[in-house]
């Protein structure tokens, strides 16, 4: 059986570890019962950063044309922005 090139997998493993740490951070914040505007924005920001990491590294969009990365970033800005706006309304 041929062996995989270990160099090609280090990047993916680091990305996976970052996603695990960010997920555990989100869970800990939830378990601690933290609420409020800054907590909401932090949690939303973490979620959007995670989704961009998945899009760019796992879906490999970072190697693609600008248009596809722009669509993913647009999703990040529009969906994340509207959710944040709705939560800010409720906190006002």
């Amino acid at each position: 059986m041929k062996q995989a090139n270990p160099q090609s997998n280090i990047g993916a493993t680091v990305i996976w570890l970052i996603l695990v740490v960010l997920t555990l951070t989100t869970w800990r914040i939830g378990e601690a019962g933290m609420v409020g505007k800054s907590t909401m924005l932090l949690l939303l920001f973490i979620a959007m950063i995670k989704s961009q990491i998945v899009a760019n590294y796992f879906m490999a969009l970072r190697h693609t044309r600008l248009i596809w990365r722009a669509i993913m970033f647009g999703y990040f800005v529009i969906v994340g922005g509207l959710i944040a706006f709705a939560y800010l309304i409720s906190l006002a």
Partner: protein, 205 residues
């Protein structure tokens, strides 16, 4: 679009790739249309959830406390890990390592099964507590969003199963792996959507 213009546009795309080093989307483009459409549908539902919550804050906060944040977090870790396994599977097939690719994809498939099992336990707990979509606006969103996503996980598992069988039969190689990339892209979309869904519905208050 006729055959000649299709040929010209493909040549233009190849020239663009050669000139910039940038590739087109991995896998079959048709599936990417589906992925973008699904992201749009989920995006609308996420925003609808947030704006509905803005007018029923206490109801949403109270109902949200009945969810298991730990189950949600475990399922997030499960999906992230399965996505990582799929990345390893794609890397393996690109190097012509069919057996390793099949192992990684089987691992991802099994993790999908764990996700489904945890979700079924959650759904059963809500059913046993007599909670349904008509209980209130929060549960309407919670059940519809998570069930809609649950169906996507099932679809992703079916796609993975077909790819695993084909990989085992030697149907993909270092020169021909578009099918593996296509299935991988769908699976990553399932992960991408859950990554937003989990904090939105389970955590943020």
């Amino acid at each position: 679009m006729d055959a000649q213009s299709t040929h010209i546009s493909l040549v233009e795309m190849s020239n663009y790739q050669l000139a910039t080093g940038k590739k087109n989307l991995p896998g079959d483009f048709a599936l990417w249309i589906f992925i973008f459409a699904e992201m749009l549908v989920f995006g609308v539902l996420f925003v609808a959830y947030a704006f509905t919550r803005a007018y029923h804050v206490e109801l949403f906060n109270e109902s949200q406390l009945t969810l298991s944040r730990t189950s949600g977090a475990i399922n997030t870790l499960v999906l992230i890990t399965s996505s990582y396994f799929v990345v390893r599977g794609v890397t393996a097939i690109k190097q012509g390592l069919s057996k390793q690719c099949a192992y990684w994809l089987t691992g991802a498939f099994l993790l999908g099964g764990i996700f489904i099992s945890i979700k079924l336990v959650e759904f059963h707990a809500k059913y046993a507590a007599d909670i349904s979509m008509s209980t209130n606006a929060f549960y309407m969103f919670y059940l519809s969003l998570t069930f809609f996503h649950f169906m996507h996980v099932l679809m992703g598992m079916i796609i993975l199963a077909f790819i695993i069988v084909k990989v085992r039969r030697g149907g993909y190689s270092a020169q021909d792996y578009v099918g593996v990339e296509t299935g991988a892209s769908f699976w990553h979309m399932v992960d991408f959507l859950w990554i937003i869904l989990f904090p939105l519905v389970y955590i943020i208050r």
